[in-house]
């Protein structure tokens, strides 16, 4: 790739008609992303018919704009009302919403927009310059590597390494068990479906996520006599972060971006895993890990950067190998094929002008998004202040509408309501919520890769230690599990030494 092809791609995406469709994409994406339950998969799938008959580059710019816009938009409802717009925005609620409760909603929105922009831009650079290198790395990931990676994600982010891991462990195992429901991918046998056709495909994680975070938040709000967030007007000076504050979070953005891009490149891992991993790493390296969850800016900046960097990452295997890196990329693959393009190793040679146009369009879309998401922060805060007293019924209704249109079934709505109640009880009793969702999301991939690995090795577990990448990840997993044990042994020995 030479810089000239990239510049010609950027110029192609700047033509007025294409720019217009890119703008439509990012605006619609931001709105769709902010609605509970509707993520980029739904957004692109819904608006795909709009691109039929459109010139290919304009159509693709619209779709890529929606994809990137959803990633930006998902954080708005997470930060302002503690209801994640999509599963990738769950982690944003951990420190984003506490910042809102502290009266720093504007700061949280702007900081997360800047982190998202940084992640996207680095993701764009990675996509433009490192596609070939990373696609070679991605194809080295077979079932043993995936199993080791999924285990890494579960151990490092589920909270089982915390001081009181018991409840986190219970919740993680419950989430994994729920992920086992439905059709078995190897034998086709039905598992834990109890003869209910609704459970043949298992339990979708979106209604569980919205129930456990959104509905339980609504229940906890209505339990208070006065739950309005904005009792006082937020001064305009506090709407935007200071340069010093952005700089203090720059390291977190870099780390989140790196994790997001790498995880995005791996087919099937997706933005949700990236955000959980980024948050886990940030908490682990922090000098004050106990403060995470109370409105720590690093806990917001890192996952947001990871979320957006994963977009560029997920497009790497899509463009270079024809393998989608996420559910959204899978729909984009369909769109590319419908437009007569053949994603794979020859795509850059056969349709280079269109692909570079899309890559250039990604840069343009991000510039539009960062402007939209920083300039309009006062508007978002004002809007939420106006509707704050009516949020309980309106958010509940929006959750129901959003979940119903997932599969056009009321079954998912009931699942959401049940998990809303369960989530509320869990909150009150001190059970962590995130591990349940994380385990439900990762459960099937974890089991699939475990079983595929053991079938490959004819039942031998040594397969996880014979492949270099898998071995490194497995050793990291073992070290993570043993570290707290070694720490407590050391502490005990030190205590005994002091006692003597």
């Amino acid at each position: 790739m030479d810089l000239q092809t990239l510049f010609s791609g950027i110029l192609a995406s700047l033509e007025p008609v294409r720019l217009f469709w890119g703008f439509v994409g990012v605006t619609l994406g931001t709105i769709v992303g902010a609605l509970p339950g509707l993520g980029p998969v739904t957004g692109i799938a819904l608006l795909l018919p709009l691109t039929f008959g459109m010139e290919p580059l304009s159509g693709l710019l619209l779709l890529v704009g929606i994809y990137q816009g959803c990633m930006f938009g998902g954080r708005i409802s997470s930060i302002l009302i503690n209801v994640p717009g999509d599963p990738a925005a769950v982690v944003t609620t951990f420190d984003g919403y506490p910042l809102t409760q502290k009266g720093r909603a504007g700061f949280a929105l702007t900081l997360s927009a800047l982190a998202s922009f940084f992640g996207s831009i680095v993701g764009f650079i990675g996509l433009a310059f490192l596609s070939v290198v990373f696609s070679k790395f991605a194809v080295k990931f077979g079932p043993p590597e995936y199993f080791a990676l999924m285990l890494f994600a579960l151990i490092s982010t589920s909270g089982i390494l915390e001081k009181r891991p018991f409840k986190a462990m219970i919740v993680t195992v419950l989430g994994l068990l729920m992920a086992m429901m439905g059709n078995d991918f190897v034998t086709g046998e039905m598992r834990l479906a109890f003869d209910s056709p609704y459970l043949y495909e298992g339990i979708d994680f979106v209604p569980v996520t919205i129930g456990i975070f959104g509905v339980s938040e609504v229940l906890s709000r209505i339990g208070k006599a006065d739950y309005t967030l904005f009792k006082e007007k937020i001064p305009n000076t506090d709407l935007f972060p200071k340069v010093r504050e952005v700089w203090e979070n720059f390291g977190a953005m870099v780390r989140g971006t790196f994790i997001g891009f790498i995880v995005g490149v791996l087919p099937g891992a997706g933005a949700t895993v990236a955000t959980f991993l980024a948050y886990g790493v940030e908490k682990k390296i922090s000098k004050e890990p106990d403060k995470f969850g109370t409105g720590v800016p690093q806990g917001l900046a890192s996952p947001e950067a990871a979320n957006n960097a994963s977009v560029g990452g997920s497009l790497v295997p899509l463009f270079t190998l024809g393998i989608p890196g996420s559910g959204t990329a899978a729909i984009l693959l369909g769109a590319l094929m419908m437009m007569g393009l053949k994603p794979g190793p020859l795509l850059f040679q056969t349709s280079g002008d269109i692909v570079w146009g899309v890559i250039g369009g990604l840069l343009v879309a991000n510039i539009m998004l960062v402007i939209l998401n920083t300039v309009f922060v006062p508007a978002f805060v004002t809007m939420i202040r106006v509707i704050d007293p009516y949020l309980v019924p309106v958010v509940s209704a929006l959750c129901i509408f959003g979940i119903y249109v997932l599969n056009y079934r009321m079954f998912e709505v009931w699942i959401m309501l049940i998990f809303g109640i369960i989530g509320y009880i869990m909150r009150k009793l001190g059970y962590p919520l995130a591990p349940l969702v994380l385990a439900l999301i990762l459960g099937q991939t974890t089991e699939t890769s475990l079983r595929q690995s053991l079938i490959m090795s004819e039942g031998s577990w040594s397969i996880f230690f014979l492949q270099p990448i898998a071995a490194v990840l497995m050793l990291a997993n073992i070290a993570m599990l043993l570290w707290p044990l070694i720490g407590s042994l050391r502490a005990r020995r030190n205590k005994e030494a002091v006692g003597r």
Binding site: F166, I170, L176, R191, I222, R451, I455
Partner: protein
């Protein structure tokens, strides 16, 4: 909190038992030495029973304490009303359609639970369902559950 904690731990043990019974007849082994469809669910159900059962046993061994988690009757009443209204409007959706039932839900919550003036409650309810109709049905082309009216 102790009683609620005990009940919830017991509930999780029951979920584990359901998982164990449900996966009992599934094969534990597949071809070529790999694990079968029953291995993971069975193992996870057992781990869940052991973990939640252990926690329940630990809670039962502790002296009884006043339950503090769910004692606020004001909060419980409002929450029960909200859950009841949500469930009723979800059921009503089959009959009158989703837009109308959700509009009624919003009006009920604002008027009855939040004690807002009725005019304001109706205005917010109607404005919300009109916005939802335009965003979901007109603009995105999504079909919400229809009833006898819409």
């Amino acid at each position: 909190m102790l009683m609620a904690d005990r009940l919830f731990a017991g509930f999780i043990v029951i979920l584990g038992l359901i998982g164990l019974i449900g996966s009992w007849e599934l094969s534990g082994e597949a071809l070529r030495g790999g694990p079968g469809p029953g291995m993971m669910p069975r193992a996870l159900a057992l781990i869940l029973i052991v973990l939640a059962g252990g926690y329940l046993a630990f809670l039962l061994a502790r002296p009884p304490k006043t339950d503090k988690a769910f004692t606020n009757s004001y909060a419980l009443k409002r929450q029960a009303l909200l859950i009841g209204a949500l469930s009723a409007s979800a059921l009503l959706s089959y009959l009158v359609g989703m837009l109308i039932s959700m509009g009624l839900f919003i009006i009920f919550v604002l008027g009855v639970i939040e004690k807002f003036p009725w005019k304001k409650s109706i205005l917010v309810g109607v404005a919300t369902i009109i916005s939802v109709h335009f965003i979901f049905e007109r603009w995105m082309g999504l079909q919400l559950l229809k009833g006898i009216f819409f």
